[in-house]
């Protein structure tokens, strides 16, 4: 019974990450590209905050690696960035839960910005740094989306009885 319950929750979490991955490569008009929120990071932050015992650095690393494969970037690039996010989110999950929604959103902005900065550094080391300042916009869009996404994921968690 316990195991069944466990796998059920695992499926829901996996499905949410799958949706995030699809959204990450869903094509939009080119000019909107720099406003694409970091879906994977948003979902990851939510689960790390809500269920730090189930979703943590390991999950983040695997999902990041999947993102690397989908994007065709260097293997390990997004994996590292996403594990950083997960590490920070798990480490501060108690504080995060206490924060009002808007304050959480600011933390999301900081986390996504840290993620993007890390990716940018790695790209720079590899000699593929872009000549744009566009790395802050995904963080801002993610921040604006956070309150809504939080509610959606919380409802999914409660409805699916994932804990």
């Amino acid at each position: 019974m316990k195991l069944g319950h466990n796998t059920h929750g695992r499926l829901i979490i996996a499905a949410s990450f799958l949706v995030a991955l699809v959204l990450s490569i869903l094509p939009w008009p080119v000019w909107t590209e720099q406003f694409r929120p970091d879906w994977v990071a948003l979902v990851l932050i939510y689960w790390c905050m809500a269920l730090p015992t189930r979703v943590g650095v390991g999950t983040a690393w695997s999902v990041g690696l999947m993102l690397d494969v989908l994007y065709g970037s260097m293997l390990g690039e997004n994996a590292l960035a996403k594990s950083l996010i997960a590490f920070l989110a798990v480490h501060f999950h108690l504080q995060l839960r206490m924060f009002p929604r808007w304050q959480q959103a600011v933390v999301v902005l900081l986390l996504v910005a840290a993620n993007n900065l890390l990716v940018l550094w790695i790209k720079h080391l590899a000699g593929q740094a872009p000549a744009t300042w566009g790395y802050l916009t995904p963080g801002i869009v993610s921040m604006l989306l956070w309150p809504w996404l939080f509610v959606i994921l919380r409802d999914i968690r409660r409805h699916g009885n994932v804990n």
């Binding site: 799958l18 991955l21 699809v22 990450s24 490569i25 869903l26 094509p27 939009w28 080119v30 590209e33 720099q34 694409r36 943590g56 650095v57 390991g58 690393w61 990041g64 999947m66 494969v69 989908l70 994007y71 065709g72 970037s73 260097m74 293997l75 390990g76 690039e77 994996a79 590292l80 594990s83 950083l84 997960a86 590490f87 798990v90 480490h91 993007n116 990716v119 940018l120 790695i122 790209k123 590899a126 000699g127 593929q128 740094a129 872009p130 000549a131 744009t132 566009g134 790395y135 995904p138």
Partner: protein, 361 residues
Amino acid sequence: MLQISGWQLRLPSNLTRFVLLALLSVGLMLLDARGHHLQKIRSGLTVLFVPIQILAAIPVRVGGWLMDLTRTDTSLREEAERLRAEQPILHARLQKVEAIEAENAHLRQLLGTSALIAERAVVAELLEVASEPYRHTVVIAKGAKDGLYLGQPVIDTYGIRGQISEVGILQSTAILITDPGHAIPVQVNRNGLRAIAFGTGTLDSVSIRHLTASADIKLGDLLVSSGIGGGFPFGYPVAKVKKILNDPNEPFLDISATPVAQLSYNKEVLLIWPAKSVMPAVTKKAADIKKPAAARDGGSAKREAVPTGTNAGAGFPLTQKNPAERKKPVEVSKPAATSPPTEAPNPAIAVPAKPAEGAVQ
């Protein structure tokens, strides 16, 4: 916490796990970037993720299908009309091109160099999948089974789009010329001045670096692929110069150019298989290239024989091996005379490494 026969096994802490995985990531990145040891693993994983890509491509597919459904009869008729009007013009141009090609081949024969041989091209569909932020890549619905290879040029009806950077079994990834990790050797169509066009990360511009203020380059100049490096065949349009900034404090001009290929449109692309004769030049050592053509064994004798001999022998003598091998020496020694001193042998030799680098990143 796990308890195994009295021993207490503590699961590693959050921080330890993070540090271990970070090290693992760095190791993976090094393996991937430096040695390309992970190519096999990566293409295996890519196949696993094809369903996700297809899932992501569905909305655009459905959108396009709906658009087709709602298109009216008149608009279709108009389009057919337009295409019908366009066709004779294109045909007329093609006639001229064929004549010019033949003439060009003849002249090159006289010079003892090989001409470009007609290339094989295949139309390929793009999979509507967004690329990583800051990168410009597209997924092409053709793979190793269709004969695609790493570094293969990808063009559209207007000019060069990029090159294949990853070959999967069913689909491959192409890196666009505007990707920040890409560089393509070009030359100014007007005077043959050589340069390298670097991707900038914005879809509407590539930047030309390392040209000094004395370089003969103007606004509106068309940049075509120079064929150096062997990755891209010679003579395909790449970009048009749109801005030249001459800052006296900087050693080089700041030039940006607009790609002529329609990079932002999700349409079909053309994959080309450049003529084999262009390829061997890449592997030639610099010393070999610098050697004058006449000094090479049998070179001088052949040169005298070429104009009459081959013309009489075959209607299309360009496929011959010997002239092909001699092509590069003549071509490469040319820029020293035509281009300013800043364009000394350095770029010419440095160029070949660049596109390959772009291909693998």
